[in-house]
């Protein structure tokens, strides 16, 4: 995370504001592992489209979106989003926008391993409500 942000920040040193979000696996409810799968033919094109949309909508100087796949354990990073803009509000809103879309509009599926086996995680109603804020 540190290196990625340091170089992202150096690349956009004339932008007044840089915001970063890092999401990690939480040790909630006895979850032992999280598996993220994706559908490769759609994932990257859709993320590129999403990043371009955020960039135009919030007048960004730069945008970085990383999302991991595979089996991850508590404490490991899942997603890193960073934006650079002239003003704080745009950089903030863009990260918010990107995260809301990555949570319930990008081609990833999440399941969680608990003591009794694997459980798929569906987006919650709140995630859809978050997404609808941007429509």
């Amino acid at each position: 995370m540190g290196e990625a942000l340091a170089s992202f920040n150096a690349a956009y040193d004339q932008a007044g504001a840089t915001v970063a979000f890092l999401g990690k696996v939480r040790p909630d409810g006895g979850a032992r592992a999280l598996e993220l799968t994706h559908y490769e033919p759609l994932t990257l094109p859709a993320m590129n489209t999403l990043a371009a949309e955020a960039s135009a909508r919030f007048s960004l100087s730069g945008v970085l979106v990383w999302h991991r796949i595979g089996v991850l354990t508590p404490g490991q990073p899942i997603v890193l989003v960073s934006t650079a803009a002239a003003h704080r509000r745009c950089a903030f809103d863009a990260v918010d926008f990107l995260m809301d879309h990555l949570k319930s509009a990008a081609w990833f599926w999440k399941r969680e391993k608990r003591a009794d086996g694997w459980h798929w995680i569906e987006p919650r109603a709140a995630d859809y409500a978050d997404l609808n804020r941007w429509k």
């Binding site: 799968t37 033919p41 759609l42 094109p45 997603v79 599926w109 999440k110 569906e122 987006p123």
Partner: protein, 80 residues
Amino acid sequence: MSVRIVFLGPLRDLAGTVEREVPAPLDWDGLLGIVEPAIAAQLLDERINVACAGRVLGDKSMLAAKDGDEVALLPPVSGG
């Protein structure tokens, strides 16, 4: 002359497999007839998307997969 059906997320468990080769061409009715009834029932849910040859269909009932196409069955996502 075949189409590959790919099952994503929880549909993978329902199908008991990651992917399946079926004869081409394949349309919506053909798809509903060839998958397990439990999956066919899911496909009718509007939250389930279908992609063909790398494009998500705006109207999945217009599916028209030809030889070599990959048809992906996409349940509600949960990333981040």
